[in-house]
């Protein structure tokens, strides 16, 4: 009996003197795995148009019904997305979401994926319902949305359609080309840049609720 006790004590002593392996979150954070299913991201095309075409397939696929999509018709002259419709409202209730990734699978344009962010704790219940502003990917020259959202996220490689919609020529490239010629900073709205891109956070509107 004594031999076993001493053996056990030796093991705990060895472990007690070795380095703890705990990751001291939030000071140190391990990078999420590539297919980590965390908070959702709404993606854009390279020219800033939203990938979401407001088809509501994600809402239909969602087993817990935590997605609400409020679609609207695109203005042909100043489209938000390359399709006929775009999501005017896009809300996800994180209290209900089970992070199954079915929304990403169902999406025909790979507009929604599940990103790396996993800390959603909040003191206010209203804050756990994410709006489009919070979900939408940041885009250069515009205000960044909350958190690092420029990740591909899980579900980005689902290849659900086989081909994605053609968003057309990049207004940003045209804008930059124009800026090179005139050597002066253009105003937003010039050169085909969509001004009223929904989802861009206006700092004055950020403190909602």
């Amino acid at each position: 009996m004594f031999k076993e006790i001493i053996k056990g004590m030796a093991i705990t002593l060895r472990y007690g003197l070795s380095r703890p392996i705990t990751v001291q979150w939030p000071e140190e954070q391990k990078p999420a795995t590539p297919r980590h299913r965390g908070r959702h991201i709404l993606h854009r095309y390279y020219n800033g148009l939203e990938k979401c075409i407001g088809c509501e397939l994600c809402a239909a696929a969602c087993p817990v019904g935590c997605i609400y999509v409020g679609p609207a018709e695109n203005d042909p002259l100043n489209p938000v997305s390359p399709g006929e419709r775009y999501a005017k409202r896009y809300e996800i209730n994180l209290m209900r979401c089970i992070f199954c990734g079915y929304c990403a699978s169902a999406c025909p344009t790979e507009a929604i994926t599940l990103g790396p962010q996993c800390d959603f704790a909040n003191y206010r219940r209203e804050r756990t319902v994410l709006t489009k502003q919070e979900l939408l990917e940041a885009w250069p020259k515009f205000e960044r949305s909350r958190g690092d959202m420029n990740q591909r996220g899980a579900g980005a490689d689902q290849r659900s359609t086989g081909k994605s919609l053609n968003p057309g020529p990049s207004p940003r490239l045209a804008w930059e080309a124009q800026a090179d010629e005139t050597h002066e900073a253009p105003l937003p709205g010039h050169g085909g840049i969509p001004v009223n891109v929904p989802g861009v956070i206006d700092p004055s509107e950020e403190s909602r609720a």
Partner: protein, 353 residues
């Protein structure tokens, strides 16, 4: 002489020759010891969690204050502000007596433990003893008072009128009966060697060699029994959380639960202090040339090391099964204790002859 008269006399002997007011001295000493023990017990919870964490490759509490040192304060505040729930069918008086006894007996036993050598004749022939009350039957007092601690658990378990509490209380009683004998027998070896129950004399007689060298078996027996007495793993059957929810303190909440918690840790300190006094040379330094370090520090250091060992054991060994515990107490520890007494007595008798 009446026992009460005796207790009074031996207590007042502190002021032998007098100059300082004995009552004041008592009060100051008692305040220091009680506050010190309570604070130490609070921070032992921190130490325990740190030890547990490191053994399990974690850090333990490290969020509140530097190295998580303010964690006990946060815990105490939490306990203070919790609702004081109690079962309606409880025994109202005994439900209160239980937790009070838990802390009371643990602190009471500390009253006779000398923290350092006597300071002779400071201030007009007054002898400063480094214990609250200098009893020449200190060891007997300790045995009597620590056994009372079992009442706190049993009364608490019984008065709550809940089956898990009752089972915990019953286990504690059975455990105490099977261990108290072994503990007492292990101490008799020391008493035979010194011929005294006075803890100060017991310590001063360890000048040449600590009693752990002469009585290694007794030390092991006492330490095992002490673990059982403090209801800590591997002998935490009365509160076995996997079997009995929380055992005897299942129905306790808020500050009453806090008292049990405090009692457990004060008990650990007391038990380790007794082991230090009897077997590890109390305030004596390891080697004579280190005697420039004050005795109190030696004492506290030794107690701290023992407490660390107790925690280390708790987070290593699994809980004993109930029947194994009983058979270990009655069939192994008790005969070994008797054997130790016989051998020690024989050796002492031969040396005297």
């Amino acid at each position: 002489m009446k026992a009460s008269q005796y207790l009074l006399d031996s207590g007042l002997r502190v002021g032998n020759g007098v100059a300082a007011d004995p009552v004041l001295v008592f009060a100051v000493k008692a305040a220091i010891v009680v506050l010190g023990l309570t604070l130490a017990a609070a921070f032992l919870t921190w130490a325990e969690r740190k030890v547990a964490g490191r053994i399990q490759l974690r850090y333990g509490p490290n969020r509140v204050g530097p190295y998580g040192l303010f964690q006990p304060i946060a815990d105490v505040l939490k306990l203070l502000f919790k609702e004081n729930l109690a079962p309606a069918t409880r025994d109202k008086l005994l439900f209160l007596v239980g937790p009070s006894l838990a802390v009371g007996t643990a602190i009471l036993a500390f009253a006779v433990i000398p923290l350092s050598a006597v300071n002779h004749g400071i201030g007009a022939g007054y002898d400063l003893h480094w214990d609250i009350s200098h009893l020449n039957i200190g060891l007997l007092f300790i045995l009597a008072v620590t056994s009372l601690g079992a009442y706190s658990i049993f009364l608490g378990g019984w008065s709550a009128n809940s089956k898990y509490s009752l089972l915990g209380g019953l286990r504690s009683t059975a455990q105490l009966i099977s261990y108290e004998m072994a503990v007492s027998f292990s101490l008799i070896g020391v008493v035979i060697l010194t011929g005294s129950l006075d803890l100060e004399k017991i310590v001063t007689q360890q000048n040449h060699a600590w009693f752990v060298v002469m009585q290694p078996l007794a030390f092991l027996l006492y330490f095992t029994g002490a673990l059982a007495e403090t209801n800590r793993a591997p002998f935490d059957l009365p509160e076995a959380e996997q079997e009995l929810v929380a055992g005897y303190h299942t129905e306790y909440s808020s500050l009453r639960f806090g008292l049990y918690f405090l009692g457990e840790y004060v008990n650990v300190i007391t038990v380790c202090a007794i082991a230090t006094t009897l077997f590890l040379g109390g305030w004596l330094p390891i080697v004579p040339f280190l005697s420039f370090i004050p005795g109190v520090l030696w004492f506290i250091g030794k107690v701290a090391v023992l407490i660390l060992v107790v925690m280390w054991i708790r987070w290593t060994l699994p809980r004993l099964r109930y029947d194994r515990l009983m058979s270990l107490g009655w069939k192994v520890l008790l005969p070994l204790g008797l054997l130790n007494i016989v051998i020690t007595g024989a050796v002492v008798a031969f040396q005297a002859a």
